[in-house]
Amino acid sequence: MMESSQFLLAVAGGLFVIGLLGVVIRRNALVMLMCMELMLNGVNLSLVTFSQQRADAAGAVMVFLTFVVATAEVALAIPIVLLLVKHARSLDIDRFSELKG
């Protein structure tokens, strides 16, 4: 049986991987954004675990800051997606591949 910290870290890693997988797999733009939120949560969990392990407040501070940044990011990403959707009339990601090389 694993240590609880290892278990928590495994959960955090799992959340991260699932989030990344979701970004790659799903077609819907909003679902992709939500998977990105999941990734951020996974990272937060690992930060909290480490911070608790070492009784260091720095990790918690970082989590706090991550909250701020994630909120701001979502607040801006959604309107951009809205504009894109209005432009392309669909939520399908494949329509937005104009950043070609």
């Binding site: 997988l21 790659v24 992709m32 990601i93 494949d94 591949s97 070609k100 090389g101």
Partner: protein, 632 residues
């Protein structure tokens, strides 16, 4: 004047540059014929005057060689290669001949090429040739000699193909150049061996080293001698590389006189004579030289018997006489060979210039079957041609007699390689020489006229510029034999020792030589002086032999079939199609195509799809994680 020797060589170069720029199409023909002739003849004459002065200086200093360094050419580590000029007895003789006979021929050319549209170009090339030839004979190091060697080959090519509008002339020039180059490969190999053994290419140093026998263990003298001789066969038209000389008659006659009689073709003889120290230690190479020389002399003489172009007869005669010179070199009589070079320069140049005069008089006709009865019409030409013919036939008292007789004597009796059979073949060749030269003389000048009427109507004596040269050379053909060059050169190049038991044959052989000369002349007069059917009857009777000789032993055809065609086939099919197109072009195009295709492949990464980017990030993370564990 700090560098008189260099000046001798550089004056003709200056003439080349001046004439070449201003008297040709490049400079818009700014110099007229008079200016071009003045420069073109003035430079060789000035060089001749300088040579005489240098000769007097040499004499006054007791014949110690004059060494004049001019320019440091290259420095390779410890060794340096300099352009140094060297003037000793041998160089003096050669330089006097080159500049003297050269000047005469230049003056002759002003008359001969008078109506030619490329007058300036001709003199430019002639001067260029003179420059390289002087480099050849004045150089101290074999490198300078080789520069001159190649340069005269170039000048020869330019001059043979002078009238290049006719493709046959251009082909002849090319043949000469390529055949020369084959010989040069041997020359280069010889030079490499010498350099490796001695660390220097200065010829006097090498000769001295061979004389004292110091590092002879490092190099086989015979091998080097053989290689240098291969170079000489190319330049001096011996078997197997003589085939270019008859074709070289496509060039203007003064060119044939200067280059292919008096000077360039003697470069090989000069080389061997200069390296006498080497060849004295190389008995096998010397023996080979003598054999090749005598066989060449014999075969060339047989071909000359049946030629009917006046210049071709003289060309084969040149090959034959060069063979004589190599016989002399082969038996160790280097000074005698040089003697023959000198006398040959006189009478052969006179013969060629006389032939040029005849051609000029007849408005371009060169076939002796269409000549005759010119004796009274062009007397000066006739008399000079007669004297020169007598000289080459070996009539006693004239120049050719002395040199040829000495060669035959040493061929018979020299301790180093002489032999009876060598003498016998030489004597037979001398007989044939007398015969075919008299035949040439007779058919051209005597008998009934076989010319066409309008040609006969326009026959006229050549201008003074041409006849003056003829007279000068004819006089030299008479008195040249008394100069006694072998004895002049003896302190430098000793004459070979004669087998003691054969010494008393000397006078006998002398009488035999005289008899040969007269009988050759007599037989020719008998054959051709009588009704024409006599000669024709003999020709018919010897059917196949006549065909063989007429076809020049079909050597050219043999070379074409055995060497040229397979080479051309290989060039076309192997080197061009496979080597060039398939390998080189294919590789380059393939590389370019590879670059293009891989670029196309890699370009698909940037598809603009966000999800692909995210996928790549994922894969990249895996890779980074794995990589970061290398040191854990």
């Amino acid at each position: 004047m700090t560098n008189p020797l260099a000046l001798i060589a550089l004056l003709p170069l200056l003439g080349f540059l001046l004439n070449g720029t201003f008297a040709t199409a490049i400079g818009g023909h700014r110099f007229g014929h008079r200016t071009a002739a003045l420069i073109g003849c003035g430079m060789p004459l000035a060089a001749f005057a300088l040579t005489i002065q240098m000769f007097l200086t040499l004499q006054a200093s007791g014949y110690t060689p004059i060494v004049e360094p001019l320019y440091r050419w290259a420095t390779l580590g410890d060794t340096t290669f300099d352009i140094t000029f060297y003037f000793d007895r041998l160089s003096a003789v050669m330089t006097l001949i080159v500049t003297g006979v050269g000047s005469v021929i230049h003056i002759y050319s002003t008359g001969y090429m008078h109506d030619d549209k490329s007058f300036g170009r001709f003199f430019a090339y002639l001067n260029l040739f003179l420059f390289f030839m002087l480099l050849l004979v004045l150089g101290r190091s074999m490198l300078v000699l080789f520069v001159g060697w190649e340069g005269v080959g170039l000048a020869s090519y330019l001059l043979i193909g002078f009238w290049f509008d006719d493709l046959a002339n251009a082909a002849a020039g090319r043949k000469a150049f390529i055949t020369n180059r084959i010989g040069d490969a041997g020359f280069l190999l010889g030079m490499f061996l010498l350099y490796r053994a001695f660390g220097t290419l200065d010829m006097d140093v090498i000769n001295a080293a061979f004389a004292t026998g110091a590092p002879v263990a490092m190099v086989s003298a015979s091998l080097v001698g053989l290689f240098l001789f291969i170079g000489a066969t190319g330049k001096s038209a011996q078997i197997p590389l003589y085939v270019w000389l008859p074709d070289a008659m496509a060039g203007p006659t003064p060119v044939s006189a200067l280059i292919h009689a008096a000077t360039m073709v003697t470069a090989g003889v000069y080389l061997v004579a200069r390296m006498s120290g080497l060849y004295l230690q190389a008995p096998e190479a010397s023996q080979l030289m003598a054999v090749v020389g005598v066989v060449t002399a014999f075969l060339a003489a047989t071909i000359a018997l049946v030629q009917h172009d006046i210049k071709k007869v003289l060309a084969y005669s040149t090959v034959s006489q060069l063979g004589f010179m190599f016989v002399a070199l082969g038996v160790g009589a280097y000074g005698v060979a040089i003697f023959h070079v000198v006398t040959h320069a006189f009478f052969k140049a006179c013969l060629f210039l006389g032939a040029g005069s005849v051609i000029h008089a007849l408005g371009g006709e060169q076939d002796i079957r269409k000549m005759g009865a010119l004796r009274t019409k062009i007397p000066v030409t006739f008399w000079t041609f007669l004297i020169a013919t007598a000289a080459i036939a070996g009539i006693p008292g004239l120049a050719g007699f002395f040199s040829k007789d000495e060669i035959l004597w040493y061929a018979f009796a020299s301790e180093t390689g002489g032999g009876t059979w060598l003498w016998a073949m030489g004597a037979l060749t001398a007989f044939m020489t007398a015969f075919y030269m008299t035949r040439l003389l007779w058919l051209t000048f005597f008998g009934a006229s076989r010319m066409s009427h309008e040609v006969e109507h326009h026959v006229h004596e050549s201008p003074l510029s041409m006849t003056g040269g003829l007279v000068v050379l004819a006089v030299l053909s008479v008195v040249g034999g008394y100069i006694g060059i072998p004895h002049f050169l003896e302190p430098m190049i000793p004459l070979p020792k004669v087998v003691a038991s054969l010494e008393h044959f000397e006078h006998t052989l002398l009488y035999v030589s005289v008899a040969i000369a007269f009988s050759g002349v007599g037989l020719a007069i008998f054959m051709y002086g009588g009704p024409a059917s006599r000669a024709e009857g003999v020709a018919r009777a010897s059917g196949p032999l006549y065909g063989l000789l007429s076809g020049k032993y079909f050597v050219d055809e043999l070379y074409a079939a055995v060497i040229v065609r397979p080479l051309a086939w290989v060039s076309e099919h192997v080197l061009l199609k496979v080597g060039d197109r398939l390998l080189l072009d294919g590789t380059l195009n393939g590389l370019a195509g590879l670059a293009q295709r891989s670029a196309g492949l890699l370009g698909r990464v940037q598809s603009g799809s966000l999800q692909l980017y995210a996928l790549l990030v994922m894969v990249g993370m895996v890779g980074a994680l794995l990589w970061s564990w290398r040191h854990v």
